[in-house]
Amino acid sequence: MSTQTSERVDAATAAIAADEASGTVLDPVARDAGALDGQPTRRSNVARLFAQGRRPSWTLVVAIAVIVVAVLWAAAPWLFTSYDPIDGVPAQKLLPPSAEHWFGTDAIGRDLYARVVYGAIHSLSGALIAVTVGLAAGTLLGVVAGSVGGWLDDVLMRVVDVLLSIPGLLLSLSVIILLGFGTVNAAIAVGIGSVASFARLSRSEVVRVRRTDYVEAAFGSGGSFASVLRRHVLPNSLTAVVGLAALQFGGAILAISTLGFLGYGAPPPTPEWGLLIAEGRNYVATAWWLTTLPGLVVLVVVLSANRISQSIGRGTR
């Protein structure tokens, strides 16, 4: 209790000042606009979300479609291509994109489209592991720091500052050197790189929610620290964190591809997206499709994840 007192006092005085300064009335024009005639019908949260969503914008629909396709590639790649991603037909090497080979073929005659489709599982599961690691560790740090406050907050946040001050790629590489090469290790390394931003965001959200009247009212109704945290603080502060997770998902695909490109990820001949681009690098002058098309796939998937993240973020406001 005593560790929180100083922060509580600050929050309280600030809140009092804000209350007394702002007077009583909210923005009148907005209020006129939003004034309700009768009582609105009863709706569940999900139904309200859909009602608020109006007609979703077409970019969001496209983004969701892209992610769904990518997930299906990962789940059932054999439905999308009849070629084998590992064994090539040497006679058909370095063919440009055509109706038979949509993305062309590589130096040992493997169908590039098949390799991209089969590679989805590596990139997506890697991104999922990375985001999970970052989300779990970062949110835990942030929530503890924000809710307990005091010296623990200071210590945790300085650790986070240190993490933030190291360039992400360098941090990931260092972690991989410690853990060893491989898809999963690369994913964990990328996840550790994103712990800091998750911790920052979740701490700031928790601190914001903790200063609201309803959290104080919950303490005023006899709530204990843990119950108020569970019932009020966490549900109200995690939406923004989920938005960040979607954003980080795109970033993680990119980072894992980067590590794959540098040779720290899955070993060849695994059709990992970053590795595909790296392997195509030697043929840039003669076979542009080997780098360009997998690169475009990565680009589109990352952009889609960001678009979805943006719409989640907007929903919270």
Binding site: M1, T5, R8, V9, A12, T13, I16, D19, E20, A21, S22, G23, T24, V25, L26, D27, P28, V29, A30, R31, D32, A33, G34, A35, L36, Q39, P40, R42, N45, A51, Q52, R54, T212, D213, Y214, E216, A217, A218, F219, G220, S221, G222, G223, S224, S227, R231, H232, P235, N236
Partner: protein, 548 residues
């Protein structure tokens, strides 16, 4: 020729469910040198009307019909560029919120000078001279110093004066004052309204005063236009409307306006502690006794700020004690000390327990503090922030029971339903989210939550200040009836003397952290002894009308 003539104005907003008309054909006329008050509750369309006149509707707003004429010139179809030549030069706008209406990173002098620059006053020396003149005109001392200061260095009243200086800079013929004093204390409010009055008298400026406060409108306006749901329900000379309102809505509004009420005072109700044998036997008529409370806040680089300085008061069981004061008087801090959200630096707070004996609660810690919440509950000012938006009303009301592990889930739900019924809300709100409720309904939910564990004392921190007068009147009635039936003791924190007069039995007037006067409401209102109390009473709008 009228300064402003509005005919059949229609405004709609784009909402999720399509276009919604919020102003349905409003007619307003303002004559030369006249103050016309646009009165209505929130959602009545009064601010929308005022903003639509000069093309400053919020995003999604659109004027669908009607005409607006300024000094005989029809400006209805003017585009933004042409309207810009009107704004400031012919119509000055005094916005509602002095805190957010000034740019925090520029000195106020520059901001006042900007309107001169935009409207083509050349030469910085000439502008500077005019700015100082204006700041002096609106009653700011030492204009040269003020012009160099930033908004955060000025008080709310000073900032509103700066905004008025901007509005009158080009000597407009009409000033639209949109709730110019709603965010200010009563004494500051009076001075600002006096200033607007002076300007009108001396410069012949007409004023369109938008307000929700019938007392303010009655004091200051020659004519009233009463709006309800985007329609004019009644308009005419102020005196006529106040003495013989024709429309039922106006009558309701007048009856509910605390400032205009003339009913008697509440006397410390004998029923409770005469009837209640336990209270009489305990020989202790008090539910709360506070003695010598002190609370200081540390301020970086300066002496600690003493927010509450030697405050003492007693509250009899089953009565309402009001703490009255302006912002910064320490009344909210006192409320937070009594509810023990803050730890007093010195002094005693005693609360009567079940047997009626007083026990000190100033030193309680952790679990003792948690158990204290069974006996004392706080209701917040802002019902929009005090309810968790992710919970249903039933969860919110049952929360204290949940926290104290009282009853089974079904018991708690039944109790929540009973309480919702008790605060006169329909049973179907139980499963709704607070987002779907209006301000008044939310405050009822907050009151139901406070009553859930049957506390003896409820502290109401500006609990009705954010509500419209009619809603406010209903909530006050509810509080009175709850007090009578449940024998509750209220500590009522308010800046609004008119409300205090209605609800409280005894009053303490606070100023700068000290109690300057304490007494029964009747004594204090009819024969105030302290200078400051008299000043506060004089500042209550609508009193002149009552006296007349």
């Amino acid at each position: 020729m009228s300064v402003l003539e509005v005919q059949d104005l229609r405004v709609s907003y784009q909402t999720r469910a399509g276009r919604r008309e919020v102003v349905h054909g409003v007619d307003v006329t303002v004559e030369e040198g006249e103050v016309v008050a646009l009165v209505g509750e929130s959602g009545s369309g009064k601010s929308t009307t005022a903003h639509a006149l000069i093309g400053l509707l919020a995003e999604g707003g659109r004027v669908d019909g009607g005409s607006v004429a300024l000094g005989g010139v029809d400006i209805t179809d003017w585009d933004q560029k042409r309207l810009r030549s009107v704004r400031g030069a012919q119509v000055g706008l005094v916005p509602q919120d002095p805190v957010s209406s000034l740019d925090p990173v520029r000195p106020v002098g520059v901001q006042v000078g900007e309107i001169l620059r935009v409207h083509g006053v050349r030469g910085s020396a000439a502008r500077r001279g005019r700015v100082l003149e204006l700041l002096e005109r609106v009653g700011l001392d030492d204009p040269a110093l003020r012009a160099r200061q930033y908004p955060h260095e000025l008080s709310g009243g000073m900032r509103q004066r700066v905004l008025i200086a901007t509005a009158i800079a080009l000597r407009p013929r009409l000033i639209i004052a949109d709730e110019p004093t709603s965010a200010l204390d009563a004494t500051v409010q009076r001075r600002i309204l006096d200033l607007i009055d002076d300007l009108r008298r001396e410069e012949g400026t007409s004023v369109l005063l938008v307000t929700h406060d019938l007392g303010v409108a009655a004091d200051r306006a020659q004519r009233l236009v009463v709006l309800n749901h985007g329609r004019v329900v009644e308009q005419g000379p102020s005196a006529g409307i106040l003495s013989s309102p024709a429309d039922p809505y106006t009558r309701q509004l007048l009856a509910d306006a605390p400032a205009l009420a003339t009913e008697g005072f509440r006397r410390p109700a004998p029923p409770l502690f005469i009837r209640d044998a336990a209270a009489a036997a305990a020989e202790n008529p008090y539910a709360i006794v506070a003695e010598g409370l002190v609370k200081e806040f540390a301020v970086r680089g300066r002496e600690a700020f003493r927010a509450v300085d030697d405050v003492s008061f007693q509250v009899r069981r089953g009565t309402t004690h009001a703490l009255v004061g302006e912002s910064g008087s320490g009344k909210t801090t006192t409320a937070r000390l009594v509810t023990r959200f803050l730890q007093p630096d010195a002094g005693r707070i005693e609360l009567a327990d079940a047997s009626g004996a007083l026990a000190d609660i100033a030193g309680l810690r952790s679990d003792g503090l948690r158990q204290l919440r069974r006996r004392i509950q706080l209701v917040y000012q802002n019902p929009f922030s005090s309810l968790d938006p992710r919970q249903s009303v039933a969860q919110i009301v049952a929360e204290p029971l949940h926290n104290f592990r009282e009853g089974t889930r079904a018991d708690r739900h039944a109790r929540a339903a009973e309480l919702i019924d008790r605060v006169a809300l329909p049973a179907d709100v139980l499963e709704r989210s607070p987002r779907e409720l209006s301000g008044g309904q939310r405050q009822r939910v907050a009151i139901a939550r406070a009553l859930a564990i049957r506390p003896d004392v409820v502290v109401l921190d500006e609990a009705v200040s954010a509500l419209d007068v009619t809603v406010q009147a209903r909530i006050l009635e509810l509080l009175e009836s709850l007090q009578q039936e449940l024998g509750l003791t209220y500590l009522f924190i308010s800046h609004d003397l008119a409300v205090v007069r209605r609800i409280s039995h005894t009053v303490s007037v606070m100023r700068r952290g000290r109690v300057v006067e304490t007494g029964s409401t009747e004594d204090l209102f009819s024969a105030p002894t302290h200078e400051y109390t008299r000043e506060l009473l004089a500042a209550v709008p609508g009193r002149s009308e009552v006296a007349a």
